[in-house]
C-alpha cells in the first residue's frame, strides 16, 4: 500500500512548511487560480480509482514556477449524499498535508499548494501518485465512499471555464448550511470524543449548535456517524419537542441521562440559566450571570484582565467544565455566537451585557445592529456599578427586566435598596456554584449599639478590607 508511493504518508508531516527555497512548484495560491471540489455522484457515473489530468504534469513543470491548479473528486456509494461533500473536501486538505513534501493551505477556491524539491528527488513525478494516495485515504477513512474518481487540472483555460459554476456550488452549500436549523432535521448528533478526558461530558451537536470545541459541526457528526454508527459520534433521534424556544427534546434528554449515568436528565440546548448544556474543558468563552444587572457577560480565554464582577477567565472557567451541568456559568465555542438560537431561552442577545473588546470585535458582525453599541467592554466599564450606569445610559433592553424590581423598590422605600435582583429563572441560589466573593451581599447591620461615642450611617459605601487583625485585649 503506502510502499507503492514514492513518498511517506503520515500525520507527522501535517505541520510541514515548504518555504520558497525548498519549493519545486507552487500550485494555485494567491497569485494563480485554483479550486478543489468533491461531488456526490451516482454509482454508475464513477469509474473507481480513475485519474485524469488536464494540463501539464509535475514532470513537465518548470522548477520554481507557479501553475494554476484544481482538484475534483467524484464520490459514490449507497450512503453518499450531497450533505457530505464539504466534509470529504476538507479531508483533501488534511490528507495532502500527510504527504511528505506537500503543503496544502486554505480551502475551496483559495487553495494554495506547494510541492517540495525533496519530494521530486524521492521520485514524485506525477499528480497521479498524489491523487491515488488521496483516494486510498478517502476510502480508508470514510468507508461509505465505495467509488472515487479524480480529475486534476493544471490548464488555466479549463479551470477558468469551470470556476464560476464551482463558486455557485460553494454558495449553494453555504446557503444550505445557513438555512438549516434544528427544526429542519429529525436527528442530532452526540459526540463522546471528550469522554477520554472529561468522562461525563455529553456534547449535543445540532444545526444551530456546533460542538463546544468548535471542531465538529452537524455535518461532521452526520458523516462520522455514517462511517461508524457505534463510534464516538452517534445519531441522537430528536424525539418530541418539549420546548422549542429553549431547545428541549425528549431524545436529547434520554441520551443525557444515559451518558451521564443518571447524573442529569434534562438538557436545554439554547439555555443559559435552566438545565444548560454541559461544558467540557476546552471551551473558548465562558459566560457568567451577573445578578446585579440580571444580565450575562462573556469572557474569552485570551482576555487576561478581570470582568466587571472582579474575576478573571480562569477563575470563572474553573467553576464549570468537566462535563458537568453548572447553572450560572456556561462554556461555549466562539462559533455559537453566530447561532440564530444563541441562548434563546434567556433572551438571546438582549441578555448580553458585557464582553471583552477583542471578543466583541471578533463576533461584531453577528451581534444584532440594535444592540451592538449597548454591550459594554472593558473600555467602557470596570465594575458592576459602572456597568449598571452604562446599560442605563445606552438604554440596553435588559432595563425592561429591571422595571419590575424598581417598582418594588419605590414601594418599600424604607427598606435598604436591594442590590441583588433575584434571577427570573427558576433556580435557587444554592444551585448556583459561584465563587464566594460573588455571592449576593445582603445588607449588613453592625452589631453592638453601645453607648456614647458617635453613630455612623454608611450609605452606598463599598469597603474593601485586605485584612483584619484582631488582637486580644491585655
Amino acid at each position: 500500500m503506502a510502499e507503492e508511493f514514492p513518498f511517506e504518508i503520515s500525520p507527522m508531516f501535517e505541520g510541514e512548511r515548504i518555504r520558497k527555497d525548498g519549493m519545486f512548484v507552487e500550485l494555485a495560491g494567491p497569485k494563480a487560480v485554483g479550486f478543489e471540489l468533491v461531488s456526490a455522484t451516482d454509482m454508475d457515473e464513477v469509474e473507481d480509482g480513475k485519474f485524469t489530468l488536464i494540463g501539464p504534469d509535475i514532470s513537465e513543470m518548470e522548477e520554481g514556477a507557479r501553475y494554476p491548479f484544481a482538484m475534483t473528486y467524484k464520490i459514490a456509494g449507497e450512503l453518499v449524499e450531497a450533505d457530505l461533500e464539504s466534509i470529504v473536501e476538507r479531508r483533501n486538505h488534511e490528507f495532502q498535508n500527510y504527504i511528505q513534501g506537500m503543503m496544502h493551505l486554505n480551502q475551496r477556491d483559495d487553495i494554495w499548494v506547494r510541492i517540495g524539491k525533496d519530494a521530486i528527488e524521492k521520485g514524485l513525478t506525477s499528480f497521479e501518485q498524489v491523487a491515488k494516495a488521496i483516494m486510498m485515504l478517502f476510502k480508508n477513512e470514510l468507508p461509505f465512499i465505495e467509488k472515487v474518481e479524480a480529475v486534476y487540472y493544471t490548464d488555466e483555460a479549463e479551470i477558468n471555464k469551470e470556476i464560476e459554476s464551482i463558486r455557485d456550488i460553494y454558495t449553494g452549500r453555504d446557503e444550505r448550511t445557513r438555512n438549516l436549523h434544528d427544526e429542519d432535521v429529525d436527528t442530532f448528533y452526540g459526540c463522546s470524543l471528550c469522554a477520554s478526558f472529561a468522562p461525563t461530558s455529553v456534547c449535543v451537536i445540532t444545526p444551530d449548535r456546533i460542538a463546544l470545541c468548535g471542531a465538529i459541526n452537524w455535518f461532521d457528526g452526520r458523516a462520522a456517524a455514517k462511517v461508524d454508527p457505534e463510534g464516538p459520534q452517534f445519531a441522537i433521534p430528536k424525539g418530541d419537542v418539549i420546548d422549542a424556544e429553549s431547545g428541549e427534546y425528549t431524545g436529547v434528554n434520554e441520551v443525557a441521562e444515559k451518558l451521564s449515568s443518571g447524573e442529569y436528565d434534562r438538557i436545554r440546548l439554547h439555555s443559559f440559566l435552566e438545565y444548560p448544556h454541559t461544558s467540557c474543558g476546552c471551551f473558548e468563552v465562558v459566560g457568567y450571570y451577573i445578578p446585579e444587572v440580571d444580565g450575562i457577560g462573556w469572557v474569552d480565554r485570551d482576555f487576561t484582565g478581570t470582568a466587571p464582577n472582579g474575576l478573571q477567565f480562569s477563575t470563572m472557567a474553573g467553576q464549570t467544565g468537566g462535563g458537568k451541568q453548572v447553572v450560572g456559568f456556561l462554556g461555549i465555542g466562539v462559533q455559537y455566537f453566530r447561532s440564530p438560537k444563541f441562548i434563546q431561552a434567556d433572551g438571546g442577545w438582549d441578555r448580553v451585557v458585557w464582553m471583552p473588546k477583542m471578543l466583541k470585535d471578533k463576533v461584531s458582525e453577528d451581534i444584532p445592529d440594535y444592540i451592538r453599541d449597548k454591550i459594554a467592554t472593558e473600555e467602557d466599564v470596570t465594575d458592576v456599578e459602572s456597568l449598571r450606569n452604562f446599560l442605563k445610559d445606552k438604554d440596553h433592553p435588559i432595563l425592561e427586566r429591571w422595571e419590575e424590581e424598581e417598582e418594588v423598590e419605590k414601594e418599600a422605600s424604607a427598606a435598604p435598596q436591594a442590590e441583588f435582583t433575584a434571577p427570573q429563572a427558576g433556580f435557587t441560589a444554592s444551585q448556583m456554584q459561584m465563587p464566594t466573593n460573588f455571592a449576593p451581599s445582603a445588607p449588613m447591620v453592625g452589631g453592638g449599639g453601645g453607648n456614647g461615642g458617635v453613630k455612623v450611617i454608611l450609605k452606598n459605601a463599598k469597603m474593601s478590607v485586605d485584612r483584619i487583625i484582631i488582637k486580644k485585649l491585655d
Binding site: M1, A2, S10, P11, M12, E14, G15, Y98, A133, L137, N140, P143, L193, A195, S196, F197, A198, P199, C213, G214, G231, P232, S261, G281, C282, F283, R301, D302, Q312, S314, A317, G318, G321, G322, G323, P416, Q417, E419, N437, P443, M444, G446, G448, G449, G450, G453, V454, V456, L458, K459, N460, K462, M463, S464, V465, D466, R467, I468, I469, I470
Partner: protein, 802 residues
Amino acid sequence: MSNVPKGQISIEELENVHITIGKIVGAIEEKYEKTEAGGMTPKPGVSALRDWDHSLLSRYQPVYTPMCDQCCYCTFGKCDLTGNKEGACGINMEGHQAREFLLRVITGAAAHSGHGRHILHYLTDKYGKDHPIDVGPSNLLAPNIQTVTGIEPKTLGDLEPAIEYVEEQLTQLLATVHMGQEGAAIDFESKALHGGMLDHVGMEISDLAQISCLGMPKSDPEAPLAEIGMGCIDATKPMLLAIGHNVAGVANIIDYMEEKGIADQVELGGLCCTAIDMTRYQMDQGGVPHAKVVGTLAKELKMIRSGIPDVIVVDEQCVRADVLQEASRLSIPVITTNDKIMYGLPNRSNDNVDDIIEDLTSGKEKGALVLDLDLLGELAPRLTLEMSPIRKEKGIKALPNEEELKVLIDKCVQCNACELVCPNNLPIMKAMEIGADGDFTKFEFVHDQCAGCGRCDQACPKEIPVLDVIEKASQKAIMEEKGHIRSGRGQISDPDIRAEGVNLVMGTTPGIIALVGCSNYPDGTKDLYKMADEMLRRNYIVLTSGCSAMDLGMYKDENGETLYEKYPSKFLGGNLINVGSCVSNSHITGTAIKVAAIFAQRNITGNFEETADYIMNRIGAVGVAWGAYSQKAASIGTGCNRYGIPVVVGPHGSKYRRALIGKPYVEEDWKVFDARNGEEMPISASPEFLLTTVETVEELMPMLAKNCIRPSDNNMGRMIKLTHYMELSQKYLGHMPEDWYKFVRSETDLPLAKREELLKILEKDQGWEIDWKRKKILSGPTTKLDVTAQPTNLKRLCKGEC
C-alpha cells in the same frame, strides 16, 4: 470632627454596603478542615496512600540490580546478602535494595525542600507573609500542594504549613532507613513513592515563592532567550561565576550591580539551575536577561579550570566538593552563601565588606562564608572588580600553553587507565595518540561528550592533567560553544491547558514528553537534540527543565538555530517549553493535575489517589531523564511514578539499581474497572513500566510513542499514537514493533495510510476476522473501544460502590 469624643464607635445602620474581606488573621487559628468538597487524604501520612502504592507495585514490580551486595549500614555488619542470605538484623537483599532506593529518593526530596525552606524563609522575611502568590493567569495556583496537602495557598504565609508537612514526612521516612525498622521491600518501595510525591510539593513551594517574589516569568510563552555556552562568556571583562541552585543571593548581586550602574562592567555567568534562575530574575515584563548561562554541572570543572572566573559564588546542590581547592590553585576567591555548603571557610557574615575584600584580595583567605545575602550583594561584584586586575597582574595561568600541551600529550603511555575510569568510556587514548601529531579533532569530540568529572586526572600514572589537556586542545571548539536557552516560563496556566484540550482529545497532539534530568549523556547533547526534534516534528509537546533545558540550548542545527529558536513555546503540540530550573519540574506533574481538575472537574484538593488514577488512565505523558545521575533525579522520577506517569532513564540510570517494570504477557495485570458499572475491563499494556532504563536513543524513540497510549484513548488519539509507534520503530529499529496489534481495539485505531495492509496482516498473522466489504474488524481484539468507558483502578469510584 475633632470634637468627636473618644470612646466606642457604634455603627447604627449600614445601607447598601458591600464589604469584601480578604483575610482575617490573629484571633482565629485558621485550620484546614476536611470539608465536604475536600478529598480523602489531605496531608497523607506514610501509610495513607499505601493501598494505591501496592496496586501500582503489583502491576509494576520492582526489579533490583544490586551494584553492591552487602549492607554496611551498622556495626552489626557488614553483611553479605547474596544467595538469599539475611543480614545480622534480618534484612534481605530486596529489602536492603529498596531501602537504598528510598534513601536516594528522600535525599533528593530533602535537597529540593531544604532549598524550598530556605528560599521561603528568606523571601517571607523580605516580602512578608501576605505577599500574594502570583504565578500567572491561573485559578489553580499550586496543583501539587493542593492535591497532596489540601491547602490552597494564596500567600507566602500559606506555603509555610505545606513545607512543614513535607519536612515532617521526610523525617518519618528517614527514620525508617535506620536498622531494625521496615522489613518488607514492598513497603520500602511505598515509602519511596511517598518521598517522591513529597519532592514535588517541596519543589513547587520553592518555585512558587521565587516566581511570586523575584519577578520571574509567569506562565509566559514569550519568556526571553538567554545566551548559553562557555563561548558566550566575555573573558576580557572581570567575571563573576555563580554555581548552584538557589538564586536568592545572586538576585541581590544583580540588584546591587544595577543600582550602582556597574552591570556592564562585570561578566555575570552561572552554572546549573542558579544560572537558569538568574535568567528568569525580573524577566516577567520581558527584557534581556541579567546573566549568561555557562552550562550544566558538566561544565563546572571545565569553567573553573579555564581560569576565566575572578570570583566564584556557590549556593547549594550539585556543586562540586572541590570547588575551593580547584579555585584556590588559580587564585579565584570562593564565597559560600548557604548552610548546605561552607567548605570550612571562616564565617564573615557579620564583618565589614572592606575587611573581607582586603583579606581575599591579599590572598590571606581563600574564601569566605557569607550567609547575609545583602552583604553578599555588595561584596561579590566589588570583589570581582578588584580581583580581575590583581589576577591579570599575577599572570595567573590556567590551561597549559601550546608547547606545554605538546609535552603533556607526549607523556601519555597509552595505559588505558583514564578510559577505564571515564563514566562514558570516552576515547581519550586515541585523542592523545592523534593529538601527538597535532590533530585535535578527537580531543574536540571527547570534550563535547565529556561530563567533566575529572576522574581521568586522578587515574593517570603519569600525572597528566588529562582534563586540562582535553580543554586546551579543544579551545577552538569551546569558543564556538554559544547557544540560546529560553529562560523558564514557570507553570502551564489554566487557559493554556484549556486551549490545547481539543488537540489532546483529538489526538492531533499525541502526548507530552518531558525531557528532564542531569547531563551524563553517552552522546553529549546530541542525543537530547535528536529526541526533542523528532518528537516535536511529530507534534508532541516537549517540556524540559534544568540541565536538559540547558543542553537543548547548546546544540544547533545546520541553520545555526537551537530548538528554542526553531520551535515556538506555547503549550501546544510541536512546541518546546522550558518550565525553568530543577524545582520547576513540579510544574510538569502540576500540568497533569490541572488537566484532571479542568477537564474532568476532579476534586483534587487533598485527593491524591483519585487525581493519580485519572492521570494514569488518561494522560499520555512520559518523562525522560536521559543523563540522570543525581539523587534529585531519582526523587523527581519517583514522584511522577506515584502519579502513574512513566519515566525512562538513560544508560547510566541503571545505576539507580532498581526499575518498576510491568509484564505485558500476564493478562490479569492489565485490567481496570469501568467506573460506570464496576465491571473489570481489559486494557492494553501501556504504560508498560513506571521506571525503566534504555541503552540507546534508537531504542527509546518508539518506546516514547508507545507509552503515551492510555486506556481512555478515543479512536483518533489511538490511531495517531499507534502511527507514531509504528513509524518510530521502523525508522529507528528497522522493523514493525512486535506488539502493535495488541493496541488495536477496532479498525478505526489503525493508521490511516496503512489500514488495508494492516487488516490483511491481522487476518493472516493473528487470525482476526475481517468484514472486507465494510473494512471492519469482526473479532480478534482483546480490548474494546468504548470511549465512554471510565477506566479506574479504584473500585470505590465505581457506581454503586459508596
